[in-house]
Amino acid sequence: MSGMVHGDTRNPLTELRRGVLEHCVLAVVRDRESYAFDIVRVLASAGELVTSEGTIYPLLSRLRRDHLVTTTWRESDAGPPRRYYLITDEGRRALDAFAGDWARFRDAVDALLAGGARRGESDGR
């Protein structure tokens, strides 16, 4: 398995992040052009999504290569020009498909996790 080379594969959250992060990035750039630093900040403020901010760059590179995002260089007030990311039509389709998959996945896991407790016992005991 490719994951075996890397240290923290045992943590299920790490695996989950790896699986969903790319689509979370697509969601961030769906409605608004953003540059990488902003994307990271949005993801970080959503909580739980990014542990190592630097790993966003390999991910963005892959999204570019897969034509799921387009980029535009724009001058910035401070420092060198920045690369802005925006979703493509192809990215939008991938995101829509993921949204459906995710809803089903989340519901299935929720149902299983709730299985041990009695139904309707959502409030404190």
Binding site: S2, V5, H6, R18, A36, F37, V40, T51, S52, E53, G54, T55, Y57, P58, L59, S61, R62, R65, D66, A78, G79, P80, R82
Partner: protein, 159 residues
Amino acid sequence: MDGDELVRDYLGRLDAASWPLPPERRAELADEVREHIETALAEAGRRDSVTVRNVLERLGRPEEIVSSEVDSEPAPPRWIEARIAEAAAKAPTLGALEIIAILLLTAGAFLLPVFGPAIGLVLVWLSTRWTRREKLIATAIVVVIFVLPIVGLLVVTDG
């Protein structure tokens, strides 16, 4: 280390870790990470070592960034992982073969004149741990120390 030294150190580690990447992507990644650091520091409005450390910590270890780059290669990244594993396996540069080779090249020159260093050199070239460059250097040293004096001696005695 002050803030700027920490940044240089971090970028140096990133450069070292990112050798398996295609050169263009390697340079691009270095630019992206450098820009990220600069943006974060500009935003913080200070670049003392505590602020820098905090920014670098949030970025994650350079090795981790590169490893996620390798994970996201379009083609099965087996060959890259093989290269990384190979490099890791190489980390101890001395195995039994290398130690015997060194002994033959040094003590062997006195105990087994001519044959000792000759066999030692063969072992050097058989080694999978030493690089080609290291092997060439070893060979050059043997040639200079052992072969040239002998050739020189022959020339002088002939003449």
